[in-house]
């Protein structure tokens, strides 16, 4: 509709943009580059840095383009479109004046500032500032503030853009940062310098255009230009957020988010961002074999010989359990080896979740997709705490709640999700009669065109998990959440490796037993693929072969340890909770003798004379694609393409224990996996969350 478009002349070029655009967006549409500090496209407009000034010919003053809506502008007196200039003497002088003001109180400490080299102020001072300072007075100094173990503050550098304030209030949903006092005394702080409680607090580091808020764990570790940057995928939760792994030498120095609109927008949870020190601690860098009750370092040959010995037990006395962080390639190779040995006891659900055995992929995916919550008009969460299980997605739910008027209902533990929701009950019984119930949420679900019903992985781990899955699925069909173009039923996973392993088919084979039975202690040999969350205490005399990257619970219980690479050390396939197939890339070499998981099983198969039919990861992936077409497309979420499979009700025996309440989905957000448990930063966050004194807080 031409009515909704507005014609502008930007730098001599006529352009039509929607009336709702800001002048800054229009200028960018025209190809002009507009400098800015306070403006951020995912935050509200503040208009306080004045860096984005442009010239509107005829206007008495320069215009802050971020705060000027195009639709509010008027034509030139002769009816021609308004003329905007984004460069030229007038604009350059205005910007250099603004820059001079910004630099009045900004210290010249770039050589010791962690932001140096990736600093907006630095870059823009070079591009738009004066060559020298004319300011000879004293600069102001501001006390540094405590913001917790993740965010370091050097507040004298702050230019009061308030991006962090707006992020905390709008995106993270915890109003904890604010600007106190005024004028020259204005300071950014948390309330009485309490630590940030958001799971997304690390994002203020990226948002800060100067070096006022920097990463505390990364402080003084490296300069951005020294770092090797590798695009990869995060595996701390099942979202598969896009990340960039910055490494120097053989060490991961930091992890940053990368924009992926469909998954993490441009945010990253604190666990994903600050996990990197865990990649250098507690690592298994050489094979071990337990000799005389003590784990002894050995070479691969010796370890394989011991493994061969252990795996010579009868096939029905051997079990394979895959853990939360397992990559698809390793799952495939391990499963192939198990089947080659005739082992049917294979399971990738160490916590015992009851899904994935009927071969219908849609029944364990988050079919509505993460981004789908922005299209949904009602969201029912069942036994899910998205704030902990998928912190970045929680921000997206909040966004939909804030701007799209999304109605949210929760069955399960009532927690602070940073948005309002209707708490419908604590136990599965709340699902009974929910359709007809007289409540705002039930009403919203009945009337919703695109209802979204999400069940958490943790509730499916109960004894009645399968029945709950059926009940939720039935309810989804009842509210017509599954239509031709909308698959409104989904499972939110909390483990990055689960969907991939299920897609590979890492579930009990014919006559095979599941995790719980394998852990009962009847087996002779158990192969544990990084399944540190499984309860290994009842194993008794069972020989444990542990394949993993970190010395955690699994390694402690192991008789043979085969060290594998972590996710930053290999190109590996992961499938996120939506069914989106994505790949990590190698940023650093595996530690010591550690090898990629699939290669360990390929080598072991050789020793066992059951050689697997692939010599490279690519050959393995070819076989993967042949076995299951879902692995053919990268970066794609199936979404509504699976509606047909969802339309049939789930057939399952057993009934729901309606009165047993859903527990907490995740105990400690910061300590959910072996990498996190090896990280000191995560330990500090966890202790701080529990209100304990920490080394950092005591400083």
């Amino acid at each position: 509709m031409t009515d909704d478009l507005f014609k502008l002349n930007i730098d001599g070029q006529d352009i039509e943009v929607p009336r709702s655009y800001t002048l800054m967006q229009a200028c960018e549409e025209a190809g002009a580059e507009i400098p800015r500090f306070c403006y951020h496209e995912r935050l509200s407009v503040a208009g306080n840095c004045r860096m984005c000034l442009v010239q509107w010919q005829g206007a008495p003053k320069p215009i802050a383009s971020c705060a000027q809506t195009v639709g509010d502008m008027r034509m030139n007196p002769d009816g021609t479109p308004p003329n905007i200039l984004t460069n030229g003497n007038y604009v350059e002088k205005a910007r250099s004046g603004v820059m001079e003001f910004l630099l009045i109180n900004h210290p010249l400490d770039c050589p010791i500032c962690d932001q140096g080299g990736e600093c907006d102020l630095q870059d823009q001072a070079v591009a738009y500032g004066r060559s020298t300072s004319r300011y000879a007075e004293n600069k102001r100094a501001v006390e540094d503030k405590n913001m917790g173990p993740l965010v370091a503050t050097i507040m004298t550098r702050c230019i009061q853009c308030t991006r962090c304030v707006r992020f905390a209030a709008e995106v993270a949903g915890v109003e904890e940062i604010g600007m106190i006092s005024r004028g020259e005394g204005a300071e950014i702080t948390t309330y009485l310098e309490q630590s940030l409680t958001s799971e997304l607090s690390g994002n203020v580091i990226d948002l800060c255009p100067v070096g006022a808020l920097t990463s505390k764990p990364y402080a003084y570790n490296a300069r951005p230009w020294e770092l090797r940057k590798t695009a990869s995928i995060d595996i701390m939760d099942a979202m598969g957020s896009a990340i960039r792994v910055d490494a120097k030498g053989d060490a991961v120095m930091r992890i940053m988010p990368v924009v992926n609109e469909e998954v993490n927008e441009e945010w990253l949870s604190d666990k994903s961002r600050f996990i990197w020190d865990g990649l250098a601690r507690q690592r298994l860098d050489t094979p071990y074999v337990r000799k005389g009750g003590k784990l002894t370092p050995v070479n691969w040959g010796e370890a394989f010989a011991a493994a061969k010995d252990a795996l010579s037990a009868p096939a029905d006395k051997i079990g394979f359990i895959a853990g939360d962080l397992i990559e698809v390639e390793q799952a495939k190779a391990a499963l192939d080896l198990a089947r080659a040995l005739g082992v049917q006891n294979t399971d990738c659900r160490p916590a015992g979740a009851q899904y994935g055995t009927d071969g219908v992929r849609e029944r364990y995916l988050l079919n509505p997709t993460l981004m789908g919550v922005e299209e949904a008009d009602a969201l029912l969460l069942i036994g899910v705490n998205p704030r902990k299980e998928a912190a970045v997605w929680n921000a997206r739910i909040r966004k939909a709640w804030l701007w799209n008027d999304l109605k949210v209902g929760l069955i399960g533990e009532a927690v602070d999700l940073t948005y309002d929701y209707e708490h419908l009950g604590d136990d599965p019984g709340a699902l009974d009669g929910l359709f007809g119930r007289d409540s705002e949420m039930a009403e919203a679900l009945r009337n919703a065109k695109r209802p979204m019903i999400v069940v958490g992985e943790s509730v499916l781990c109960r004894d009645d998990g399968a029945a709950i899955l059926k009940a939720v699925h039935d309810y989804a069909l009842e509210v017509q959440a599954v239509t031709e173009d909308w698959a409104g039923f989904g499972v939110l996973h909390s483990a990055a490796g689960r969907v991939g392993a299920l897609d590979v088919g890492f579930v009990p084979g014919e006559a095979g037993v599941d995790t719980a039975s394998m852990l009962a202690g009847d087996l002779e040999t158990l192969v544990v693929l990084g399944a540190d969350e499984a309860d290994l205490s009842k194993l008794g005399d069972t020989k444990v072969i542990y394949v993993g990257s970190h010395g955690d619970a699994g390694a402690a219980a192991a008789d043979i340890i085969l060290p594998s690479a972590a996710y930053t050390e290999m190109a590996a396939t992961y499938v996120n909770t939506e069914g989106r197939v994505q790949m990590t890339h190698r940023a650093v070499q595996p530690k010591g003798e550690a090898r990629e998981g699939w290669a360990i099983f390929r080598a072991l198969s050789d020793v066992l004379a059951k050689t697997l039919p692939y010599d490279s990861a690519d050959a393995l992936r070819d076989q993967l694609r042949d076995a299951n077409a879902v692995f053919s497309g990268l970066g794609f979420a199936p979404g509504a393409s699976g509606v047909d499979a969802l339309k049939a009700p789930i057939e399952v025996a057993g009934s729901v224990d309606a009165a047993r309440p859903f527990g907490a989905a995740i105990g400690d957000f910061y300590l959910t996996n072996p990498v996190a448990r090896a990280s000191r930063t995560m330990a500090e966050c966890s202790m701080q969350k529990q209100g304990l004194e920490t080394a950092v807080a005591a400083e």
Partner: protein, 346 residues
Amino acid sequence: MALRRFDIEAGGDSFAFLPETEPTIAFWLAKYPDDKKRSGVIPLLWLAQKDNAGWLSEPAMREVADRLEMPYIRVYEVATFYTMFRLQPVGKHHIQLCGTTPCMLRGANDLKTVCEAKIGPKMHVTDDGRLSWEEVECLGACVNAPMVQINDYYYEDLTPDSLTEILAKLQNGADVKPGTFIDRLNSAPEGGAKSLVEAELYDGSRSKAVKTLPNLPSDAPAPAEPKTPAPAKKTLIETTKPAATGEKPEALKVAAGEEDDLKRIKGIGPVNETALNALGFYKFSQVAAWTPVNIAWVENELSFPGRVEREDWIAQAKTLAAGEETAFSKRVDAGEVESSKDEGED
């Protein structure tokens, strides 16, 4: 501006509004819809400051935040933004000394010296807890400079001596009357008026009819000389009436308390009732008995031609005289008709 931080130690752990403040809080909160009650943050902080001996402690600020369901940081921002919210303890009498240009030129710096000598440095509370002082920006009483504000009141036209005296009195627990401390009325000239003092300005002898108007075009006719002086007071009933028409109905003299409430008739408000009473009409029965000629006379007296008939006073009066009620009288009795209430009722 100095850094503004809460005095955490002096604030203690708790704060509660005084019971007598609650109605005021309710008054402020009633102004805003329930989901916008954060609009009341400044009034509530102000009340909290009053209830907390003149300063805002951290628990007091939290109490305000809790009442308004605001995040603490948002209230913290407001409390630190406005310098009139004091974040440290103050004396029972807190002196805000204006140091802005007019007061400074008139000797504010000397007053500052007095404060420093008698009280101590800025924001220092005397040992007896009675006095403290700070320098503030313009308090808007420049005409009476130099001045200070002590708690809620202005003390103006001060000298070091008068301020010393005020401080001494306050320290001894005596009251000091606010206002100016020199011989003047409010902001009038010292020693009384200096101009417009001639007595004839005020006795009417200088007033003359206006004969020419300024800026009148030269060819316009001069305004006519007024024939009679304008009446001093003009009310509804005293307007010039045409010659008497009709016939005066019978008037009555009724003892106080026996008159009917004529306002129960639609069309008779307090003004008309007074006028009718003055003409000797007190009872519904009198009104009910008016003949057309009576009506013409009454309407002429009240200067409301046609009104009695249009509003049907007669029929209303008949009904009311019979002890019955009209729809309008019911509303009057229920107090719903503002114009029929007795004057001074609210």
